[in-house]
Amino acid sequence: MKNVYVGAGLVGVSVALVVVGALWTPADPTALADRPHLPPSWRWPMGTDWFGRDVLSRVMVGGRVSWAVAAAAVATGGALGFGVGAMAGYLGGILGEVLARLGDFFLAFPASLMAVLLATVLGPGALGVALALALFTVPFFLRLSFAGVLALREQEFVVAARACGARGPRIVLRHILPNLASPLLVQLSVSLGAALLAEAGLAYLGLGVQPPHPSWGRMLREAQTYFGYSPWPAVFPGLVLGLTVLGLNLLGDGLRDLADPLTRKLSPGRP
């Protein structure tokens, strides 16, 4: 129970930072000033970086990209994975087997390598990264809906719906989907965390949104160069990212504990 609150709190703070950052920041996140490497203080809560820019303001603005890319990727990949998995589970047979294997195929191929391949073809922008993360999200949702639909398909209420003349799509969306809502929410939460981590790692390598827009991952790369002068610009973006992911994981765990007994077995896949 407590997990849900702590998790929701951490995620709430992270989202609030980013939303407020879109409207207002304590200082100009890109303005250079002659105050390099100040330690954290009341005036500069996360210190300043090598160019004298306020780290807190940059964290607030940088999170927007991370959240947007991760959310878009998980929404796309989740919808695709759920749809294909539900279809495979509902139709069953050889097609179901093939689709499930296809999911395993993507599970074996790490998001980072996929992102590098896509960046070679599409250029190093956010599109390639989002696409790679979406593909990386697909198998988890595919497995979940595949197993869920297989388990629910022969339940009385589904048979009854079928007897009333309901067709496949209606049965899946109206009768099966609501019963999978809680494991889906749990998986969404965990997948978002994983996507945020992967996005930041790729941004660190220079993939994703390009300068001058800050992002959590790239801030770390810049800060690494000047670590010897001041560790703070490297510490805070990673800390905020880590706490966000922790919040999402706690939220996922807490939601699973609250989930109804029928679907409790469908625990979320972790990368």
Binding site: R101, D104, F105, A108, F109, P110, S112, L113, V116, L117, L118, A119, T120, V121, G193, L197, A200, G201, L202, Y204, L205, G217, L220, A223, Q224, F227, G228, P231, A234, V235, P237, G238, L241, G242, L243, V245, L246, N249, L250, D253, R270, P271
Partner: protein
């Protein structure tokens, strides 16, 4: 049993084939004109034609794929474009000597962490040690590994000078292993945290079983109950998970290899991307992906061999 092995082996071969096909199509068919992609928009006509010839773009792509596959099956992945004078095969061989030991070392470290923390937490479920260790595991699983890498380099390499900050001197150097310590740690911590939760879960499950009660009733000491009876059964999922973690690390250590400038497959992949080195990228993706799929299939089969209960499912 035999049928299962044959089926999985066939699935493995098919998977690797489709992996190669998918990567080939992605890199050389979807961009439309791969030669233009490689040389860039401002290249001279000669460079463009040379790239076209090197790629064999005058042929339909299924033929090109067949040629590439036939050569690749003989271990010939062509010549690298970004690293002049190198065959892709030799670069791959060199990268593997870094990536495989790194992945193995990180996976072992993660399994040890998972074992110690997980068993420690399971001794008294709900007790203070359990809460503390599981809290740590929850936090560890959320740590961005490259951030951990950057902090480890900053604290232990740059500031305290205990470890090298990156690079790899080659296996002839006596200090080779020292260069793998920090990257291994950065990779192992989040994975160890994940494994710890799993070990704790299976320990708690096993400890609540009847045969454990029987062992206690027969007068076995607590230590014997934990080690002989519970741990042996709780270890089975850990062994399977170890295989999976190792498999994913083979292709998934890309970011950390670049944080520490370790010339493994991930490091080469990034250089190949920068240099638009299609032969090297193709080779890397197929070898890394194929290796990961192979190891995870082996881990699955090992799991079946270890646990007779699954065989009858």
């Amino acid at each position: 049993m035999v049928r299962l092995f044959v089926r999985r082996a066939a699935a493995l071969v098919l998977t690797v084939f489709f992996l190669a096909l998918a990567v080939f199509v992605l890199l050389t068919v979807i961009p439309g004109d791969a030669a233009r992609l490689v040389v860039g928009p401002e290249a001279s006509e000669e460079a463009y034609q040379a790239a076209r010839a090197a790629l064999g773009l005058d042929e339909p792509w299924p033929f090109r794929f067949a040629h590439w596959l036939a050569k690749a099956l003989h271990g010939d992945f062509g010549d690298s474009w970004a690293f002049r004078g190198w065959a892709v095969r030799d670069l791959l061989a060199q990268a593997l000597t870094v990536t495989v030991p790194l992945a193995l070392w990180a996976a072992i470290l993660a399994a040890l962490m998972g074992l110690v923390v997980g068993v420690g937490a399971a001794v008294r479920p709900g007790g203070w040690l359990d809460l503390l260790l599981m809290g740590l595991a929850q936090g560890g699983a959320a740590i961005p590994e490259f951030w951990l890498g950057v902090l480890l380099v900053g604290a232990l390499a740059v500031t305290l000078r205990l470890f090298p900050s990156g690079g790899f001197p080659g296996w002839e150097s006596p200090k080779a292993l020292v260069h793998l310590v920090l990257p291994g740690l950065a990779l192992a911590l989040p994975r160890g945290a994940y494994l710890a939760r799993m070990v704790r879960g299976s320990m708690v499950d096993v400890l609540s079983m009847r045969f454990v009660e029987t062992a206690r009733a027969k007068g076995a000491s607590e230590a014997r109950v934990y080690v002989r009876h519970a741990l042996r059964n709780a270890l089975i999922p850990l062994v399977a998970a170890f295989g999976l973690v190792f498999a994913r690390l083979l292709a998934g250590a890309l970011v950390i290899e670049n944080v520490f400038s370790l010339p493994g497959m991930g490091w080469y992949a990034l250089r190949a991307m920068g240099g638009r080195d299609l032969p090297l990228l193709l080779g890397l993706a197929v070898v890394a992906g194929g290796l990961a799929v192979t190891v995870s299939t082996l881990a699955d089969l090992g799991f079946v061999l270890l646990d007779p209960r699954i065989r009858y499912r």
